[in-house]
Subunit: 255 residues, 2 copies
Amino acid sequence: MNRRPLILLSNDDGYMAPGILFLIEVLRPLGDLVVVAPNTGQSGMSAAITVKTPLLLNLVSKEEGLSVYRSTGTPVDCVKLAMNQVFTERKPDAAFSGINHGTNSSVAIHYSGTLGAVLEACMNGIPAVGFSLDNHSFDANFEPARAYMEKIAMAVLKNGLPEGYCLNVNIPAIPELKGIRLCRQARGRWIEEFDKRKHPQGGNYYWLTGNFHNDEPEAEDTDMFAMREGYISVVPSTIDMTAYSFMENMKSWNL
Amino acid sequence: MNRRPLILLSNDDGYMAPGILFLIEVLRPLGDLVVVAPNTGQSGMSAAITVKTPLLLNLVSKEEGLSVYRSTGTPVDCVKLAMNQVFTERKPDAAFSGINHGTNSSVAIHYSGTLGAVLEACMNGIPAVGFSLDNHSFDANFEPARAYMEKIAMAVLKNGLPEGYCLNVNIPAIPELKGIRLCRQARGRWIEEFDKRKHPQGGNYYWLTGNFHNDEPEAEDTDMFAMREGYISVVPSTIDMTAYSFMENMKSWNL
């Protein structure tokens, strides 16, 4: 019986993105890998699911220890298809998503397709981790993160994660990383600056742009602070969004 | 100076959906309304944002106390456009999304476009509420919820909500509602059952279907339990997904 860990990989940049190719390279010694990732880029797709159109799922390649599937769906669709159509005999021992080209720290966890895949795996009871590098370019250098990613992956495979919890890992794009820090999600938001342009047929159209605003740049326990200091941030995250601390207060509303 | 509350409305079923028309009817006596909602249905779009194509935003109608805009974007895009292009002089006092045709209890908060709009308003510091009715049909009866929705909306306009908190309100589709209960998000997941069909050009294609599985059907403090008992569930929710309770435990990993 094969006791090597069985590992699901996905992302939101597409199955051929350099980030997922590097992730495959890092994880390959640790287990048998099954990639189920989108055909093309799905950045900003959050935990979106495809309800109005059917999905395609195709095997791209299969060799000892590595199968690659691509799908027309979102990152969440990919994980759903993986769990239901690919892992029919044995559930994966862990799921890893990324490496995203671009950071997903702070509230970006809500918009990110990379983290959408992580949340979906988490809902399915699979210990899941999202990796993101703070560099959007195609030729970003993932190498400095290799040893740290391996360490995190091995720890997750060894310890698992309690039901409903997952990890959001963000990596500064610098040549010499200082280490890993456990953090909380920084409070912040995008200050949207739509680029408004004249439509050739009249009226306007809008490109979403915007800059991120950190509401608490000096808070040392946040992911954004850790990254600025040169550390990889690990935010243990929960799919339970209930605001328990506010519930007591709300009772006075007498609804 | 106009001191009437200024209220943003959005949804994920489109600006002409019966659910948002009913919401307009309920809220109209409470303030000046600005609807910025998608052109067409965006169910399951979660907190997705549109990064690869530009967006259109068009004024549909404008009368005393009610302006309606539609956009080609997702629910989150609609809120972003509203905050940046429509509310240029005064921020809204509250935001309401829905009424969704279909429940968004438990983990559906992660997939729901209705709640995506709520999270976005919340990130922008606006007290925000998502309303969903447990009935997918076009001619769903929203009437039994009217007085309760009014009560919740008035309470939010009076009390506000602390930064980073929002409300996820789910309404059973029954003629006689018993009242309102403050709840936590039930633990559960979709048991996906893809409908696999033969593609006319060879291979397969997959329709996402699936049934929801409640992991804790007897937990009386959950939204799903409250709804089953005939109550409207209100889950105070937070955009901070950090798993604080697990952080201490994870320190033993020595990352």
